[in-house]
């Protein structure tokens, strides 16, 4: 990646614009640092994992989550209002018959509150261009081999909703508690590029 070094020209340009805006009263003292801290504290895949584990152990919660995800995650003290305004959350559940995978082909829309900052591959042209056309091939590259009988449903986050995949509970986890179950869930599982 270009321009990533501390003393790089772009770092100097960003500092220059920031100083100019501070000087003109468009930025408050310390506002940038505060916003960066808020962003980094604002979301984590651990949140999506908690939602998933609760849905696995509580069928009533799972039902509410699929019908009204914003309302359901509030039960866990979570919300989609970390950004500029509350965003609609749509949770799509994997089943034996159907696997879901999420993309934003036009930019990089993503539920940061539940998944944390998005990975570079999610924002890449490679992923955005290919997963709508050849999801089975893309998932294979991620190491996810789905049976030919599993239908694939791709969701393009092209408007105001943000999407989270609800992975299937792995076999043999009947004895695990909710916290241990949450520990099994990965960011890729919540996007749909991994099974869990």
């Amino acid at each position: 990646m270009s321009g990533t070094h501390v003393g790089s020209p772009i770092a100097a340009r960003v500092r220059h614009v920031e100083a100019l805006l501070e000087h003109r009263g468009l930025l408050d003292d310390g506002e940038i640092d505060r916003r960066i801290d808020e962003f980094l504290a604002g979301g984590s895949p651990a949140n999506g994992a908690r939602v998933t584990a609760r849905a696995w152990v509580d069928p009533g919660f799972a039902e509410r989550l699929l019908a009204d995800a914003n309302g359901a995650i509030r039960e866990l003290g979570l919300s989609m209002s970390g950004g500029l305004q509350e965003q609609r959350l749509k949770v799509v559940a994997n089943t034996e018959a159907e696997h879901n995978v999420v993309v934003c082909t036009l930019c990089s829309c993503y539920p940061i509150a539940l998944l944390g900052p998005s990975p570079g591959w999610y924002k890449s042209e490679a992923y955005r261009s290919r997963v709508v056309r050849d999801p089975r091939g893309v998932l294979r590259e991620f190491g996810l081999q789905l049976p030919g009988t599993t239908r694939i449903s791709v969701w393009d986050a092209s408007a105001e909703s943000r999407y989270m995949v609800l992975p299937r509970r792995p076999a043999g986890t009947e004895r695990l508690g909710e916290e241990e179950l949450a520990g099994l869930v990965t960011r890729k599982g919540l996007i749909g590029t991994a099974a869990v």
């Binding site: 749509k90 036009l106 791709v154 092209s158 909703s161």
Partner: protein, 92 residues
């Protein structure tokens, strides 16, 4: 525009607007099925021109990959403003 409802078949706009739009190129001029309404929001195309934008329903619209790309056994569900959609009558 007649009231849209889940299950209805729609065709997406095929024109290439002169500016920002949230109708992806691969889903233009294609026939899909309305899955669910996803709220009411100002049209992004208008907001991108600095206007407040007319609020209108946004829909999850499901397309068969074969109808978009000529191949593929998967579906692609795109979220589209009503402005991008024309109903084509019969239910799927």
């Amino acid at each position: 525009m007649p009231d849209l409802a889940p299950g209805m078949r729609v065709r997406t706009r095929s024109t290439d607007p002169d500016g920002h739009t949230r109708l992806p190129r691969y889903a233009r001029g294609a026939v899909g099925v309305l899955v669910e309404e996803a709220g009411v929001h100002p049209l992004a195309d208008e907001r991108a021109r600095g206007r407040a934008g007319t609020p209108q329903p946004v829909w999850h619209v499901r397309f068969a990959a074969a109808d978009l790309f000529g191949a593929g056994d998967h579906t692609v569900t795109v979220e589209l403003w009503e402005d991008y959609l024309v109903p084509i009558g019969e239910r799927a």
